[in-house]
C-alpha cells in the first residue's frame, strides 16, 4: 500500500513545487512591470539629475566601446568567411556583401551588443544597487528626502536606452568593415563592388529595426539590472544571486524581444 503512496506523494510534491514556482514567477513578473512603470514616472518627473545621467552615459556608452567594437568587428569577419564558403564562391561578389551587411545591421550587432552589455553593465548595476540596498544606503537616501528611483534608477535607464543604439550604429560600421577586410584582402573581392553592394542592400528600415532593437535591449537590461539590485536582500550572497539573475534573465529577454521586434518589422515590410 505504501508503495502506491510513494509515487502519489512525489507527484503531489512536484505539483506543489511547480504551482509555488509558477505563482512566484507571476508575482515577480508583476513586480518587474510595476518597477518599469515607476521608473518611467521617475524619468519624466522632475528633478532630473543631469550630472548623474552624463556619468552613466560615459560609463555605459564610452567604456563599452571596445567590447562592442571588437565583438562586431570579428563577427563581421566570420560572417564574410562563412558566407563565402557557404556559397562556395558562386556569386560571392554580389551575395557576400549583402549577407554580411544585413546580418550585422539587423541581427548581430544589436543582439551581441545587448548580450555583452547585459554582462558588463546590467550585472554591474545590480551589484552596485544591491550593495547599496543591503547596506541600507538606499534607506538612508529615502530618509534624506531624495527619491532613489529618480536619483539612482532614472539616470541609468535613460543612459542605457540612449547609449545602446549609438553603440550599435558604431558596431554596424565596424562589423561591415570586418567583412570588407576579409572579402577584399583575403578572398580577393573587388573593393568598389563590395561597397556598392553594401550601400545597395542597406535599406533604412533594416538599419532602423536594428537601432530599435538596440534601444529596447538597453531599456530592458537596465530595468532588469536595477530591479534585481533594488530588491536584493541578505548580504553579499544575496547580491551575488541577484547579479546572476540579472545576467540570465536579461539575456533571455533580449533574445525573446529580438524575435518579437523582428516579427513586427517583418509584418511591416510585407
Amino acid at each position: 500500500m505504501s508503495l502506491v503512496r510513494v509515487p502519489i506523494n512525489i507527484l503531489r510534491l512536484i505539483l506543489r513545487l511547480i504551482g509555488g514556482n509558477t505563482w512566484r514567477m507571476i508575482e515577480e513578473i508583476g513586480a518587474i512591470f510595476r518597477f518599469c512603470v515607476l521608473s518611467l514616472i521617475a524619468i519624466v518627473q522632475p528633478p532630473f539629475y543631469f550630472r548623474l545621467f552624463l556619468q552613466q552615459l560615459l560609463n555605459v556608452g564610452y567604456y563599452s566601446l571596445p567590447v562592442v567594437g571588437l565583438t562586431t568587428l570579428f563577427s563581421g569577419m566570420v560572417m564574410a568567411l562563412q558566407t563565402y564558403s557557404g556559397f562556395s564562391g558562386v556569386g560571392a561578389e554580389a551575395t557576400l556583401p549583402r549577407v554580411v551587411s544585413i546580418a550585422i545591421v539587423r541581427e548581430l550587432a544589436p543582439v551581441l551588443a545587448g548580450l555583452m552589455l547585459a554582462g558588463r553593465v546590467g550585472a554591474a548595476m545590480t551589484a552596485e544597487l544591491g550593495t547599496m540596498r543591503v547596506t541600507e544606503q538606499i534607506d538612508a537616501m529615502h530618509t534624506l528626502g531624495i527619491n532613489p528611483m529618480r536619483y539612482l534608477v532614472a539616470p541609468r535607464i535613460l543612459a542605457c536606452t540612449i547609449a545602446l543604439p549609438i553603440l550599435v550604429a558604431l558596431g554596424d560600421s565596424l562589423g561591415i568593415y570586418g567583412g570588407y577586410l576579409i572579402a577584399v584582402y583575403k578572398l580577393g573581392l573587388n573593393s568598389a563592388n563590395f561597397i556598392d553592394h553594401v550601400l545597395d542592400s542597406l535599406q533604412w528600415i533594416g538599419v532602423f529595426s536594428g537601432l530599435c532593437k538596440a534601444a529596447a535591449f538597453g531599456f530592458t537590461l537596465s530595468i532588469i539590472g536595477c530591479y534585481f539590485g533594488f530588491h536584493s536582500r541578505g548580504g553579499a550572497a544575496g547580491v551575488g544571486i541577484a547579479t546572476t539573475n540579472t545576467v540570465v534573465i536579461s539575456s533571455i529577454l533580449i533574445l525573446i524581444l529580438n524575435f518579437i521586434i523582428t516579427e513586427i518589422f517583418f509584418q511591416v515590410q510585407l
Binding site: 544606503q137 538612508a140 530618509t143 527619491n147
Partner: protein, 258 residues
C-alpha cells in the same frame, strides 16, 4: 510629538513587535532600551516609513504617518534626521559629500555653501577637515558613525532618530556625542528618539525611557524614575546583571552545564 500605538510587526513567523507603544514629547529626548535583536531598529524603521507595520497607528504631531509617502513626509515635517546603526554612508561619495547630501540633492543648496556647513558639522562630531576628502571605506567604525551623525544633523531637522550613536566610540568621544545630541534637542528644539545600550549615555541624554522586551513596551518612565523603580527588567538592565527575568539562551546552557 511622536507616538506609536499598538504597533505590531512580524517577519514571517518572527513576531518582532507586539502591540508596542511609544511616546516622545515635542522637544524632548526619548531613549529606547532593550536587548540585542529585540526590535529596536525595526521600531525606528517603522517610524521612518522604511518598514510598514502590520497593525497599529503612528502619528507625528497628531498627523497619522502610516503609509505616508516619503514626499508627503518631507513636505509635512521637513527632513527627518536618521543615524543608522551601521552608519549607511554612501560609499561612492567622500565624507563631506555624504554629510552635504541632504543639503545639495535634497534642498538644492550650492556645493560651496554645503561644503562649509559639512565641515562645521564634522567639527561638531570631532572630525578634522582632513577627513572630509576621504572615502567611507578609509574610515574606522567610530569615525563612520560620527560621519553618519553629522549627516543626520546637517539639515538641522526637527525630528531626529539615532540608532546606537555611541556604540564603538571611546568614552570621551561618547560623551562629546551625547552632548551634541542634548544640544540638538535643547537648542534646536528637536524631538529625538535614541536607541542605546549604554547606561551612562542614557543618563546624559534621556528625558524619558521606554524599555522594549519581547516585542512589548514593558516599562515607561522618566530618566529619574529609572533608579527608583523596582521593575525587575529595568533593575537587571541598569545593573547589567545576568540574574533576573531577562534570560539569554546562552545562560540557560551554562546553567545546565554547571
Amino acid at each position: 510629538m511622536i507616538k506609536m500605538q499598538n504597533i505590531s510587526k512580524a517577519f514571517g513567523n518572527n513576531h518582532v513587535l507586539k502591540d508596542f507603544n511609544l511616546e516622545a514629547k515635542k522637544g524632548s529626548s526619548l531613549v529606547i532600551l532593550g536587548g540585542s535583536g529585540s526590535g529596536k531598529s525595526v521600531c525606528l524603521k517603522c517610524l521612518l516609513g522604511l518598514l510598514e507595520p502590520d497593525s497599529g497607528d503612528m502619528t507625528i504631531n497628531k498627523t497619522r504617518i502610516n503609509g505616508l509617502s516619503q514626499k508627503q513626509r518631507t513636505r509635512t515635517f521637513g527632513q527627518i534626521g536618521m543615524l543608522f546603526q551601521n552608519a549607511a554612508l554612501f560609499d561612492s561619495l567622500n565624507v563631506w559629500r555624504n554629510v552635504a547630501f541632504g543639503l545639495i540633492e535634497g534642498q538644492g543648496m550650492n556645493p560651496e555653501q554645503a561644503h562649509e556647513i559639512a565641515l562645521l558639522k564634522l567639527a561638531q562630531v570631532g572630525l578634522q577637515e582632513s577627513v572630509a576628502e576621504l572615502l567611507p571605506n578609509e574610515l574606522s567604525g567610530g569615525m563612520r558613525k560620527r560621519v553618519g551623525l553629522a549627516r543626520a544633523i546637517a539639515t538641522e531637522p526637527k525630528i531626529l532618530f539615532f540608532d546606537e550613536p555611541t556604540t564603538g566610540l571611546d568614552p570621551i568621544m561618547g560623551q562629546v556625542i551625547d552632548e551634541l545630541i542634548v544640544s540638538c534637542v535643547k537648542e534646536l528644539g528637536a524631538t529625538a528618539v535614541t536607541i542605546t545600550h549604554d547606561m551612562q549615555s542614557l543618563r546624559r541624554i534621556a528625558d524619558d525611557v521606554v524599555m522594549l522586551f519581547e516585542g512589548r513596551d514593558i516599562w515607561h518612565g522618566s530618566v529619574q524614575e529609572i533608579d527608583s523603580t523596582d521593575n525587575p527588567y529595568i533593575r537587571q538592565f541598569v545593573e547589567g546583571s545576568s540574574e533576573g527575568p531577562i534570560t539569554m539562551p546562552l545562560f540557560k546552557l551554562g546553567a545546565k552545564g554547571s
